[in-house]
């Protein structure tokens, strides 16, 4: 290992003197400022958080499938206080739902997804030696780590973790008297999220600056791979919207601890009339969803970017309609800032405002449809290589369409009245945002694993993992559309207290069974992942025969990425199966032949 580092280091330092420094265990693996290592750190931390989030969901799925049953496993993990004799406590149920949502949305699909692939891919695909600021990049990871540690820590406090739902609407989240989770658990949630916002901002600014300033010679904006475009717009969304969440959270901290009343008014709780009046709980919802909706696209855009890249490479065809894809990323990014009110149709918001939000929300369907059609036509007349990554990305296109279409129903304010906060919503966002992003993230991991670890992941296990994940994903969330249409509210500890809902026990058990199957499949992935890091087949430099710049770097990681001078880019990233070429791919570093056009890129 040491000799590798030494030999690989010599040429790099000859060309980039500023990268010359000795590395020890701490600077290489822990406080690394190398973007590739930071990407891996984000991936592994994010994956760990995902497993925690997944186990929490299995715990509450046991209660939902078999309400009031005793489960030894619940008692084992949650103890006598929260699962006496193995029956889940209703407050703990809400806490599990809350932390599951928080972890999946923020820790896995924001930090885990963007953190991993923005760090790994941005410098490698634009031809830069590292991020604009390696130190800030390191800071971003360690703030995320601290934030994760606090969130995990909050699971162990006596009154339980935050339990007001991942959106933590006040007054429920503001008042200790309202539920045990709104005590110290909520305080830790707020501290954790504050650090998370800081991490996300530092990371995001770094991504933006890097993409704008550090593109190598010839890498014009229209030659950027779609992954980089997606990560670029994602970073902009994050930088513009996370501070608003921070503002909202800060005001909540004031209300909780310093007696202000930004969100509180006319409240009588625990036999006490509160003295804080004049605030509005709806103010919080506006601030939260001003982040919350762009957040959906912060999750989805990198997933779409990864899918574009993987589908093009494995169809051995250019991504269909590159410019339309870029335009729709920009359109989705812009529109995501003016649709937040669709989460608030039944809050008593002025009906006219509701009408405006319906209009803007439904507009998003148009660029989304363009993306879906372009994905599908990329497959058309391709020479599709079904690598595990490709399987996951085809699956992602399916979930993106299935989940996206139900969004049309929910965006319609009149229809939302009756399905707001039902399982229909749970089905919609889990499929379009959760499943899609998770599938694309798996696709990304299988695809860039050789770049990250210099070895291949096991293909067969990958196929099994895909089919189990994909089928159980739909198995869990698809039936929820129907229970939602039957009027089953979300976040119910048990629905058997309503005769109409009690009829769905069979379906709930099926859903829970699929959830458990899906969870087992993820352990298969975890095994494949860690096994392949150490014993996977050694990777070639360009295993997927891809055009982008990351595959021109040596397999062994070196600081500064390219041993010699930085590569020069001569064409766009999607010259696959170009007529007149002997091979079906032409890397971006190959100059245009005489008379060859690059279609204006």
């Amino acid at each position: 290992m040491a000799s590798h580092a030494a030999t690989a280091h010599a040429p790099a330092s000859a060309h980039a003197a500023d990268h010359h420094h000795e590395e020890n265990f701490f600077t290489k693996y822990l406080f690394s400022q190398d973007h590739k290592m930071i990407g891996k750190q984000f991936l592994i931390t994010g994956t760990f958080m995902a497993f925690v989030g997944m186990m929490l969901s299995i715990f509450f799925r046991l209660q939902l499938g078999w309400p009031g049953e005793k489960f030894a496993i619940l008692n084992f993990f949650l103890g006598d206080k929260w699962a006496p004799e193995g029956v889940l406590d209703p407050n703990m149920y809400l806490a599990l739902v809350t932390i599951h949502g928080t972890i999946m949305v923020f820790f896995l699909l924001t930090a885990g997804l963007s953190g991993t692939f923005a760090n790994l891919l941005i410098p490698l695909q634009i031809g830069a030696r590292d991020m604009a600021s390696g130190f800030m990049n390191m800071l971003s990871y360690w703030l995320f780590f601290l934030s994760s540690a606090i969130m995990i820590g909050s699971l162990f406090v006596e009154t339980g973790p935050a339990a007001a739902g991942w959106t933590i609407y006040p007054p429920l989240s503001a008042l200790e008297e309202a539920m045990p989770g709104s005590g110290i658990g909520m305080t830790l949630w707020l501290v954790s999220m504050t650090l998370f916002v800081a991490s996300s901002l530092i990371g995001g600014l770094n991504y933006i600056v890097t993409i704008i300033n550090l593109r190598t010679k010839g890498m014009t904006m229209t030659r950027l791979p779609l992954t980089v475009w997606a990560l670029f717009v994602t970073a902009i969304l994050g930088v513009l919207s996370f501070p608003v969440l921070f503002a909202g959270v800060l005001l909540l901290v004031f209300d909780r601890s310093f007696g202000t009343s930004f969100y509180l008014s006319d409240i009588n709780i625990g036999g006490m009339a509160l003295e804080q009046t004049g605030g509005s709980p709806l103010l919080y919802q506006h601030l939260f969803w001003f982040l919350g909706h762009p957040e959906v696209y912060i999750i989805l855009l990198p997933a779409l970017g990864i899918t574009s890249e993987v589908i093009a490479v494995n169809s051995r065809k250019p991504i269909f309609g590159y410019r339309a894809m870029v335009a729709s990323i920009l359109a989705i990014g812009f529109l995501s800032f003016i649709v937040w009110g669709h989460h608030m149709f039944v809050t008593g918001m002025n009906p006219f405002v509701g009408a405006v939000f319906t209009f803007t929300t439904l507009l998003i369907a148009i660029p989304s449809a363009v993306k879906a059609f372009n994905f599908i036509s990329t497959l058309f007349k391709g020479n599709i290589q079904f690598t595990p990554a490709m399987m996951f990305c085809v699956g992602m296109v399916s979930t993106f369409i299935s989940g996206g279409l139900t969004g049309i129903i929910l965006a319609d304010n009149a229809l939302d009245i009756n399905i707001h906060d039902t399982y229909f919503v749970v089905a919609h966002f889990h499929i379009v945002m959760g499943l899609s992003a998770v599938l694309a993230m798996f696709g990304g991991v299988y695809h860039w694993f050789p770049k990250m670890f210099g070895r291949m992941m096991n293909k067969k296990l990958g196929y099994i993992h895909f089919w189990l994940t994909f089928a159980s994903g739909y198995g869990v969330f698809f039936p929820m559309h129907f229970t939602g249409l039957a009027g089953m509210p979300r976040r119910y500890y048990q629905y058997t207290d309503f005769p109409m809902l009690a009829e769905f026990t069979d379906l709930a058990q099926l859903i829970s069974a699929f959830a458990i199957l899906g969870a087992i499949a993820q352990f298969l992935f975890a095994f494949n992942f860690f096994y392949s890091i150490f014993r996977g087949q050694k990777a070639e430099q360009n295993p997927w025969k891809s055009n982008t710049l990351e595959w021109t770097t040596p397999v062994e990681h070196i600081h500064g990425n390219w041993p010699g001078p930085l590569p020069t880019v001569h064409r766009w990233a999607y010259d696959y199966s170009k007529p007149g070429k002997d091979v079906d791919f032409v890397p971006q570093t190959v100059p245009l032949e005489e008379g060859e056009t690059d279609e204006g890129h």
Partner: protein
Amino acid sequence: MMLTLLILFVGVLGVLAVVQLIRVFELARKIRGHRDDQVTNRENRFQSRMMMVFLFGYFAFFAWCFWVTKDKLLPESASEHGVGLDWLLNFNFLIITIAFVLTHIALFYFAYRYSGHRGHKAVYMSHDNRLELVWTIIPAAFMAVIIIYGLNAWNDITADAPEDAHQIELYSFQFAWRARYPGQDGILGDANYNLVSSTNDMGVMTPKFLDEKIVELEGDIALETAKLKPEGYPEIDPSSTMGKQYTKEINRLERHKKRIQKLQQLEYQDAGDDIMIADTFHIPVNKPVHFVFRSRDVIHSAYMPHFRAQMNTVPGTPTEFHFKPIVTTEEMREKTGDEEFNYYLYCNKICGSSHYNMKMIIIVEDEASYAEWLAEQTTYNGEPAGELATGFHHLKSTPENEEDKQEATEDEVAQMN
């Protein structure tokens, strides 16, 4: 002890077995020349066929879900606006189901049809402006239709409540609902969160409740003051930690008392003739009902799925929703064939531990039974609501009135058609 050792031993053996198994697999892979960075023609074929299998499996699962839930979904709308909403929902579902089926067939069929094999080269197609324009315009056109229909429905539903609507207040708190009907004056009396007490769930304002609250607070103040001078013990120093705590509580109670005294000075709508209902509330059929919502502690949501109605209840911000029920509970029992069927009011915004069991039963009945039921209730003042309770003025319609109404409904029907 022996058992633990045995389990440990078996565990270690198990791990060893797995490790050996993995090594066997590794060797076998090497011998067969298996590579993880290339997909063989056979694998491509197999996975592409699996894509088709999945497509049919997915559609079958869709159909199965539809089949097993079709009798369990919400029955036909019990409110007037809900009939239109159901139509709109079905219309939207038709559009998205068509889009869903077509795109999925295309996606999985292409994945199947264009599965790769060695030596084959894909067809180079980078873009097609005309095609892309078409599939931008088609969704845009559908969206326009959906938006227009949707906003029309929305504007109708959120328009001001008709003037002859019955006003009913729904009040939420952890973890129950209360309904309140205006009494003889036909107006809901004022309420204030400072007045909530064990005898006054909704915190309504009547001279009696105001006085009672003052007495209650004075009692509390006396209790707290007594704590400062415990019998048989030395007096607690008000500047000590404990003393400060008691003084703080006394001051809070004093301020609360002052707020009540201020309320007493105000001119307010006496709620004494109002009627408060717990558990089961009634509404008349074919009469618009105008619900106003208040919440005591946190945000709840009044969800009445059978009437396609929902509105959050927000502390400090009154909200409203109105609809006209058109199917009585009895009629719905016949339609659903379920003798025990009831309309429910759910809570549909996470509000704490018993969120899942916060409900009221809604009875829709003809006007006469409704009037009878209301007359039997007791007002805050402790009097029978009697014949003059709200709604009676216009419920007790004369024969001519009845005719007028008949015509009006006919006109409405004509307009709708």
